[in-house]
Symmetry: C2
Subunit: 289 residues, 2 copies
């Protein structure tokens, strides 16, 4: 497992070199959990935790990065958030690079409080956090500062994978779409943070569902790590995601949530084998030339 | 207190008619708390809860709306979030209209999970939630749907109060800045939700620190409730905030956090009286003709 003394971009590079670019999204939903696991748990948050820890076991040979989705844990209040924290700590302890997908964004000391929660060993202790840029540079910069202090990383939303993601992100101003203006800001935040791998600590979220824009952004931001959602259940293919990589094979992690973690009916007793098969297949698809 | 059978916009109108437009932001910070209160608590989250509940007592004559800031509670992990939940439930039980300032934003079922957390009686049970629009219409719409089902409200970030808020929000496309494009989307979501007061359930966050843009948006969005940050500690004046109101005196709630809740040194034994005085003065400033 990557040593924690490495910088965030180098920890991520080591994980991708070892296991490939698959990032397994932990998006637990009560209705999708294995029925027996849910029945055996004292509460839904406890079931989320047990399921997520089991997923870590199952996908470890195939993925070096996991991404808990805060919304599904917050849906169960403080108990859900406590379960999320235990999953994040367990994943980190097992050597996964962890991305807390919380899409936080606020200004000044409020942004700093969110960043402190994300990176503090006493709270979530994530390796990286997803951040929303709508509030501007002085809203993102407290996250950049906190990430640097914690040797953590960020993934700033640039061009998202949802069908309507272009409504504002594609508005053209001064000849370039908003997502390019955000991308250029990300490049500036990222530039002083390059690790030995040649990539930096301030990454971008760029969906696999828009392969042309993905290729455009890869060319424009050569030293920015991309977190690529939209592969798998959202309709993006491994071929679509290929545009996210640099010639050296680094530069992107590609997320699959439901596709890897819920490839079974809740009543299926063979659910563990199906997760293993889905993770193996995703790893193979994403690392095939 | 407004009956819960009223729609969100009418509950908010009743609160503003009764107490004026002051919204008290609950942004607890350990270093700012009354020292004796902090010392008496078993933990920082417990102190946040005790302080917030005391603030509710003190400001009740002067404000009908309170806005807990999720970041400061999340900074203390699940215990902090549990305290936030108890504050939200207590405020609602006392008849305050509650705005959970969490600036959530995500797509599809993930957005629905955040919205469920915000409005569910079993979780935060807030009257309203702040939402970030960067991901587009299909990302905001699950919040709109959930708010309608819960008879709750939203405040979508349109033009924020921070000095750098214009970096992306002011980019001009097709002759209008991004914040106007977002504002027009808010107007469309809001239109089907008008209450008896003539305002709707999908509001906008518009900072007091940009009075010209505030006036422009008030004219463009006559039936949209505005949540106006930036008054007080952030430098906006009551005169600046006046542009947010409609001729009928409705249309906006004006937030003050530190200015009302922390107008004292932590060692000051007279902190309660200072909160009362600050809330009284803010109410008077904001309701003066």
């Amino acid at each position: 497992m990557p040593a924690r003394t490495e910088s965030f971009p180098d920890r991520l590079a080591a994980a991708v070199r070892r296991r490939g670019p698959l990032c397994v999204g932990l998006d637990p939903r009560a209705a999708s959990l294995p029925a027996a696991l849910l029945a055996a748990a004292a509460s839904v948050p406890e079931a989320f935790e047990a399921f997520s820890l089991k997923v870590l076991d199952l996908v470890e040979p195939f993925a070096g990065v996991v991404k808990p989705q805060a919304a599904f844990f917050e849906q169960y209040g403080a108990a859900g958030m406590a379960a999320m924290g235990r999953v994040l700590h367990a994943a980190r302890a097992r050597g996964f690079v962890t991305v807390l997908d919380a899409k936080r964004g606020d200004i000044a000391s409020t942004a700093a409080a969110y960043a402190d929660a994300a990176f503090s060993p006493a709270v979530w202790h994530a390796d990286a956090l997803t951040v929303n840029p709508y509030l501007g540079a002085d809203a993102v910069e407290p996250f950049v500062t906190a990430a640097a202090a914690a040797d953590g990383g960020l993934f700033v939303l640039v061009r998202t994978s949802n069908p309507g993601g272009g409504l504002f992100q594609n508005l053209v101003s001064d000849g370039r779409p908003l997502y390019r203006a955000v991308g250029d800001a990300v490049a500036a935040w990222n530039a002083p943070t390059l690790g030995a791998c040649g990539l930096g600590a301030v990454g971008a979220v760029v969906g696999a569902t828009n392969p042309r824009e993905l290729a455009e952004l890869r060319a424009a931001l050569p030293d920015v790590w991309f977190l690529v959602p939209g592969y798998g259940a959202q309709g993006g293919t491994a071929a679509d995601a290929r545009a996210a990589f640099r010639p050296d094979g680094l530069g992107a992690i590609v997320n699959s949530s439901r596709g890897v973690t819920f490839p079974f009916h809740p009543a299926d007793p063979a659910w563990e084998a199906k997760i293993v098969a889905a993770a193996r297949q995703s790893q193979a698809e994403l690392t095939a030339g």
